[in-house]
Structures are given as C-alpha cells and as structure tokens.
C-alpha cells in the first residue's frame, strides 16, 4: 500500500499545469481529488513517473453562470457541487446524484472533473452528464476544444481527454420549460458504487412527456443513453402504463458486465425497473 516513487509538480495555473504535464516524461498522471488515483497507485496498478497535482489551480474551482449554461470547474469538489445554488437551481440531478457518491470524506476531496475523466462505468456522474447533454471543455498546449458528452466517454476508463490535455470545465445547459429529474441508484451498502443506476430528465407539456433523456450507469463500458426508451416516451402520455411499457426496452443496446454484484441479465432487468421508477418520478407521477 505504498506507491512507487514519483516526481511531483504543483502548478497554480492551467498553463503551468499543461507545461508540467509536457515536461513530466512518458507517464504523467494528473491528480485531482486523488480518490480514484491514489488507491490505484497504492495498489501499484499505476506507477506514474510524474504526478501533476491540480490542487492549487484556483481557476479550476467553482461554479459560474454563463447565460444559457452553468459552468462547473473540473476541480470543484463533490461537496461544493452538491451545495452550490446554481447547480441546485438548474441541474438538481447533479446534486441528487452527487449526494449518493461515497461518503462525506470522499465527497470533500473527490472532484466533479476527476470523476468524469476517470470514467468508471460504475461512477454516478458520467451518466448524469450524458443525460443533461453536458459539454466538456478540454485544454491542451495548442488551446481549448469542446466535446459533447456523447463523444467524451470513449471506452472503459477512457475519455476524449488525450495525453497532455486537461479537462478544465463542464458546461451544463440550462433547461427551458417544465423539467423533472431523478437519479435512481441501486447499490447494496450506503457508500458503494452503483450496481446499476438511471438518470432521467423529463420535460412535461400538458400531461404528455415532450422529451425524455435517460442516462444509464454501469450498463456497459461507458455510460449510455437508453435511446429506445427515449423514443418511446417522446410525445407519449405521462401515465404509469406508458412509462412502464417504454421502460421495458431500457436494456436494449447495452452490454453490462458480470461481477460479484450482478450478472449481466440481472443488470438488464434492473435497468428496466430503475428506468421505470426514475422516469415516473421525473415525470412527477
């Protein structure tokens, strides 16, 4: 449980950080809250040559209002995200899901950006970002680029953030109209990762579901959208029966893994039940 030796850099700006990464050698790891990276280093599954600690990069912390979106700095801790008034007003789904992450101690250190770049299929925030159509601002030595949530999650523990780059902020569009949201997380003990979870964002218009966006946690190597359910719900009547019928296709196109907590077929079943529950709640029924 002692990490292998490594070089350490602690920049104070994004530019310095990018330079430290470029100068750090072949195997550089960025340290955010350390809640995923440090355990892996202690178990010696990762033995980076250099660790670039973002803890002092003030510009990466905090949430701001940017007109049609709220912008969450990558280094904003889970605790700060959860309790932020802008998040609570415009993206309560993020607050709700973040509250289910781990325990107080982990939430005090772990960061929104770290959780998204880590892209653990069992992590709660990727599916939420996907359901909210969030955008990811990535910085490199050549400048900044923005990718959609759909492009951001590439594979198991792999995102669009390339070597030498940093995730700097996440833009969450403000939603217009009458939206309801719900995160249904299924796990066995209080501070555990999701076995399966469903993030539902639903817009209602005179008794109908105008639009539904559904993100699935841990139903494949990346977070997924339950597109078949979304299609079935678009324009449908907001009734328990229609929702239940639509939710039956929640596992379509997914490829969940089998592990100690669940085999694939059970995960598929859970996705259906949890989708029904999440959409029902988000639709205000």
């Amino acid at each position: 449980m002692i990490p292998a030796a490594f070089e350490y850099a602690r920049p104070t700006t994004v530019d310095e950080a990018l330079q430290a990464i470029a100068a750090g050698g072949d195997d550089v790891k960025v340290l955010a809250g350390g809640q995923s990276l440090i355990p892996v280093m202690r178990l010696r599954l990762a033995a980076p040559e250099t660790v670039v600690d973002l803890g002092r990069v003030a510009e990466l912390r905090g949430v701001r209002d940017d007109g049609d979106a709220i912008v969450i700095g990558a280094m904003t801790t889970h605790h700060d995200v959860m309790t932020d008034p802008l998040v609570q007003q415009y993206a309560p789904l993020i607050a709700e899901a973040t509250e289910t992450v781990a325990d107080r101690q982990v939430r005090a250190r772990g960061t929104f950006g770290g959780a998204l770049v880590h892209a653990d299929p069992a992590g709660d925030l990727p599916a939420v970002a996907l359901a909210l159509d969030a955008e990811f601002v990535i910085a490199g030595l050549e400048g900044r680029r923005t990718v959609s949530a759909g492009e951001f999650f590439v594979d198991y523990l792999t995102t669009a953030v390339e070597e030498g780059e940093l995730l700097v902020e996440i833009r969450v569009p403000k939603l217009a109209g009458e939206w309801g949201m719900r995160y249904e997380k299924f796990n066995r003990v209080a501070q555990a990762w999701s076995i399966v979870a469903v993030a539902a964002v639903v817009r209602r218009e005179n008794g109908h579901i105008a639009e539904a966006r559904i993100g699935l946690t841990n139903m494949g190597s990346t977070p997924l959208r339950a597109t078949a359910v979304e299609a079935a719900l678009a324009g449908a009547q907001a009734s328990p029966e229609t929702i239940a019928a639509a939710a039956r296709s929640a596992a379509e196109g997914t490829s969940p893994s089998s592990d100690l907590n669940a085999q694939a077929d059970y995960r598929e079943h859970l996705a259906q039940v949890l989708t029904r529950r999440a959409v029902t709640a988000a639709a205000g029924l």
Binding site: M1, I2, A4, A5, S36, P39, V40, L43, R44, L45, D120, P121, A122, G123, Y156, L157, F186, R188, V189, A190, Q191, A192, W193, I195, N218, S221, S257, S258, D259, L260, N261, A262, Q263, A264, Y266, H269, L270, V273, L274
Partner: protein
Amino acid sequence: MTAVEDRPTTEAPEREVGKARRRKEDARLITGRTTWTDNMVLPGMLHLAVVRSPVAHAKISSIDTSVAQEAPGVVAVLTGRDVADEQGSIPCAWPVTPDMVNPGHPSIAVDEVNHVGEAVAVIVARSKAAAQDAVELVDVDYDLLPAVLDMEEATGQDPDLCHDHLESNRSFHFVFDGGEAGTGADTDQVFADAEVVVSRRFVQQRLIPAFMEPRSVVVQPQGDNYTMWSSTQVPHILRIMLAMVTGVPEHKLRVVAPDVGGGFGGKLQVTPEEVISLLVARRLGKPVKWTETRSESLMTAHHGRDQIQYIDIASDREGNVKGLRCRILADMGAYLRLVSPGVPVLGAFMFNGIYKFDAYRFECDGVFTNKTPTDAYRGAGRPEATFAIERIMDELAVELGMDPLELRRKNWIKAEEFPFTTVAGMTYDSGDYETATQQALELLGYDELRAEQQRRRESNDPVQLGIGFSTFTEMCGLAPSRVLGSLSYGAGGWEHAAIRMLPTGKVEVVTGSTPHGQGHETAWSQLVADRLGVPFEDVEVLHGDTSVAPRGLDTYGSRSLVVGGAAVVNAAEKVVAKARRVAAHLLEASEDDLDYTGGKFSVRGTPGSEVSIQEIALATFAAHNFPEGVEPSIDADATFDPENFSFPHGTHVCAMEVDTETGMVKIRKYACVDDVGTIVNPLIVEGQVHGGLAQGIAQALFEEAVYDADGNLTTGTFVDYLVPSAADLPHFDTGNTVHEAPGNPIGAKGVGEAGCIASTPAVVNAALDAVRHLGVRDIRMPLTPERVWRALHDGGDGGDRATAGTNAYGGAQTETTAGVSTPQSALGGDR
C-alpha cells in the same frame, strides 16, 4: 502518612455493578493516541515485507532473490529454504480426533504453495517503502498444480489433492452420536420410526473477520531475550506456542499485546508473520516490524465459517421433534491453524439448540482446499449450529403447516426444567425461553406487523413483508478445563487474576484475560470497586504483557467476564479476607466480630470503630503495626476454572421487506431479548449486542469471501467484501431477561457472541417468510439482491455469484490480491 485522611467518610459508595458506565479506555482507543503496535518505533528497527504466492497451488521450482538483495535499503531476503530448519510448523492445538491428519504448516513455503497469499519470501529493509519496493524484484517460478476449491468435489470421487503427500483431502472425521454417548436414543431407529422427516442442505459461506486494526508485530532482541509486541488476542498462548515452534525458551520470551483494535477471533492465532518476525530478529539481532496492508489482511489472515451442512430433522405429525442428524463438511482451507479443527467441534454440541430431541447424531469432515486457512470467527461453530437448527425448524414448520413459533414453543425446554441435560450431553444452566420470546414480540410490535404482512400479500404489493425468528442458546465461557481435555484441546480453560493494593489506597488489577476492545478495564473496575469499596476511578486494570500478567488464557468464546471476571472477584474476596485479619488487629477485635461493608471493617455493636481497606493497605505497606506471624501483604491472586459452560439464550425477531421487483431486502425492524445473566455494565452489553447483530446480519445479507476458478480471492478489498456500516443497519430494539448463571460468582453468562450467533437465521427466516408464498424455498447467504431476484424468478436458492470483482478501481482487487490473471479470472469479469 495522611494519604487517605481527606477521603470523605460518608455512606457506602454507590453500587457499580449494573451501572451504564462509559468505558474508561475509549478516549485513547478512539483517538488512536495509544500503544497500537504499528505506532511503535524502536532505534535501528528494520521493516519486513512479505512476498506472497499469486497462485493457489504450485510447486516452487525456483526463487531468485538476487535482484531484491541488491535493491536500495534491503538488508536481507529470506526464503522458506533459508529458514527451513528453524521455522517449525504453525501449531494446531486442537487435534479433534486421534487420527487427524495435519499436513504441517511452514511459515514461509519451502517447496509448495497451497493458497494465494501464502508467504514465499520475506524482505528485510531499512524502511517500509524499501521493503515494499523490493517485493516486486523477487522472481519466483511456479509449476502449477490443480487447485482444489470445492469441498463436495474434494471429498467426492477421484478428487485432485490439496496436498499431494496426503492420501485424501480429509483431515478428520469427528462424530458425536447421542446413542453411543448414552445421551439419547438410537438416531437411525428414531428416523426410521418418524412420521415426518425434513432434509436440507445449508451453506455457511466463508467470512473474513475484518478487524479494524490490521495485524502488526514488532520484535526486539535483547541478548538472548526477545520481546514481541503483537496485535493479538492471545499473548499468553502466543508465547507458549512461539517457544515450542521456534525453540526460543519460554522464559526468554516476553509477549505484549498492547492496545489491540479488534479481533473477532481473527487474532486468536499464531500467525506465520509472528514466527517470521521472531526468526528474522533472532537471525539479524535487530528489532523488526511487520504491519500488514488491508489487502494482505483480507487475503491471508485466517477466514471463518465455510461449512456445507446436510441436516435431517424427524418429528411426528403434531410437531413433536424426535431426532436430528447433521452431516457437516467444514473447510479448513490449506492448513490447520491454532484451532481450525475445533471450530466445527465447538458447534457439535449446539445443533439441537433449545429443543428436546430424543436422538442426535453429528458428524463432520474437516476438508482441505487451496484457500486461506479458516479458524475462529465470532461465535466459532455456534453460529453455524444455530443457523442450521433455526432454519430447519422453520422448514419443518412449513412442512407441518404449523406456525414457526408454535413449533418452537412445543419443543423447547420449559423454564421449570432447568438445569436441563440435552441430547448432546450439555447441561443448560438457567433461562426462560417463553418470557424472552414474549418480550421480543412486544418490542417488535408483532401483531401489527403480521397484519401488515397479510395486507401486503392480499394487495400483491411489490414489497412483501416477512417475519423470522431465532430462539437460540449458545455455550459460553470457554471453558471448563476438564471438558476441553475430553475434547483433546491442547490447553485448559481457567483464568487468572491478581489484585495489588497500593499504599495510597489505589488498586491494580492484573487480568490474564487480554482485551482487544471489549471494555475489560471498565467492567473489571466496576467489579472490584464493589467488592473492595474503592472508587471506580481508583482501579487500574493491567493486561496483555506476559511479564505483567504472567498467567492467562486471554479473550475469546465470550469467556472474559464469565471466567476472567470470576477470577477477579475471587481475588478480591481473598484481599478482603486478608484485610480482615489486619483490621481485627488494628481494631483490637476478633475477626468474627467484624462487619465488612462498602470497603470498611467495623466492630459489630461498637459505633465509630472502623477502618477502611485503603487504610489497611497503607498499614500493610508500613507494616509497623501488624498481626504477629502474618506476612505484610494483602495482595491476592486467584485462578478460576469453571465447572460448566454458561448458556446465554434469547429470542431474536426480524421483520424484513423484500422488494420483489429488484430482490433488494431491507430490515424493517429488529427486536431481540437476550438473557446473558447478570449485567455488570448495561452499556457494554448493549454495545456487544449491537456489534454482534451487525456481524450476524452481515453474514445473512452482505459478507462473503469469494474465490474465482483459479483460487484468487476476488473479494480482496472492502469494495467487494461488503462490511455494512451503521447506515446499512436498522435501529435495534434490544431487551434483556436476567437469569443468573449458577456457575460463577458474578452470575454472568457472556455476551460477546450472542448477537452474532442469534441474528443470522432470524434474518434469513424473515426474508423467506416474505416470499415463501411466491414459491421460494431457500436463498443462499448472503442474500444479495441478485440472489433474491433469481430465487423469485428462476426458483432455486439464487445460485452462485459471478466471481469477478466489481469494476470500481478498475478491478484492482484481483490484480493485487492474486497478482495473476487467467482467462477465468480476467479483470472485471467478462468485459
């Protein structure tokens, strides 16, 4: 000398026994500002790291340590071959049958490894980090052998062998037959004549004790003497065993268990790492330290439970039970450790529970598999027995169409029948099962919950409700030495205590029953305060160091208060008897004319003439004015050896909600009424019950040590070995009845294991009660939501779990605990 003059000489101090005192040791334990072994730093201390086998079963074809030897900071690298002549075998103190097979257990494997995590070499370095870095530099070649992992296969036709120098995978075959022992009728005959027979196969999954403080050892050589500090439950046993294993003479060894952060049986052991640390310190003449990581702890500290139980129960149509037959496969793991074989044998006398059977037969095979050895874990043998009987009683009730409580009531021992000798030959001391049950039902709000259960069934609610019982007893207070002898255990079961009266009137109590978090310092102080009439705060309890507390048999089997506390009380009585002679001298009266209350002697009928025990302590210290021919000491010691076990009992009732859509189970309410005899400290009793319930419920719902097809432990971190926290457990409604234990001067029966022994079957029975009407007959522990869902949807008992660790941390647990991955153990399962 005025040390005692300013004491208020008012009325007798308040009675301590029965007071809910906060534990005096807690502040230092909770803040960690104490003597945890790993906190020790000695000048020149070297650090050990253990190189461990990544494979379950293999011949070691070569070990190359040359690169590691050269690594910075490394002082030495030792393999099993290097210490083969001096390491002996990890001892097994409990040969349960004369022909028990013990394959021998080197501390460092020499030719063959038999489980993942077995030590193959030890690095000695100047820092912990240097030692850890060098672990990866040791190059070991293994010739793989087939891994034996399944007990039924291991004892079936032509099995692979766990130890190829043995003839089979069987270590022993232990039988208790009531007919042969003369405690019951002929079992086969009773079954042949029975109107109803119900047979079931129950699985007691493998568990990990998961104590909070990881194990740690420090050894300091000093000339030809050695002092070992170890995070152990059993410093006294450890000292004797280390002497026998390593040849360091017993009087040259001092073992200290400083403050120890939990054990649950998991530190009732002589570990390979303790032996290795002593060997290295002896060889290098330098102090050494070894502290395990959590992964090492989960993988290599001994595991518990792991039985397959084939249980038959016979009764008549009216529900009068007649016979019980138990056939047990008990997984020993790869080796026999200190009491591995004794664990199922401790259960052998408890499968009949609180019921009156005519006939009883128990047989158990101890089986070797290529897994971490098993040994004591909270309850050791008795949870397994209690689970079997309390589950089969429910199954019989279903078969007979009877209410499960009615069936129990019909068969249990009545209050007026105590003491009662059971079909297993045990004499239950005292109790009243009916009263405890009535109280528990009231605590639960039984009638209302039954009504709600009915409503949910009728409305086809997706969330169903069930109620489950466990009306249990257990044998505690290990143990009468003669009984242990008759079961071939290698030691006695007495306990020792000494009391030293200091000149200032303060009291030192020396106990041989070494605590590891139970609160002995508080409870012993309460006992002594009452007997000696001294303030609670004036008592200091010393323990855990074989040079301070030279005689003792330590803490396990709910024995401390019942045996160790009894020794303390007897020692206090001896102090009082000695003090009485001095008092008579000082008061110029006859001993017979003295009254003793509240720590003061007074001459009967002569008001104002009194002397306190503190004053006597001072007079004894000065010895200026002492009775003729009496040695100037009122200190005393006592050794208590009980004549019988004590038998706590209780009724536990669990109400369980089952979400039939997801399989999630949730305890709605839990009530229990335990009879643990006299209660010295209600707060400690409550704490022990809560902790025990947590662990018993954890077996039912959460915990399981899982091995994959290659013998890798895939529940190798707390991400996958699910220990519940307070957030995952319900509020507990607890109560007590008190029937004093007749077998010790306190009247206590022992509470350390009760909650853990009783709760597991109540929880499983409750879940089954919720879904039996949906066709579910059994669900295997732990009741994961997946298993419950499968049992509901596919029938069966929920089946095996997938063995891959979860993907959080990228499946790290498999890699670190095993070091290898094969197609079967691929990280993250089938991804």
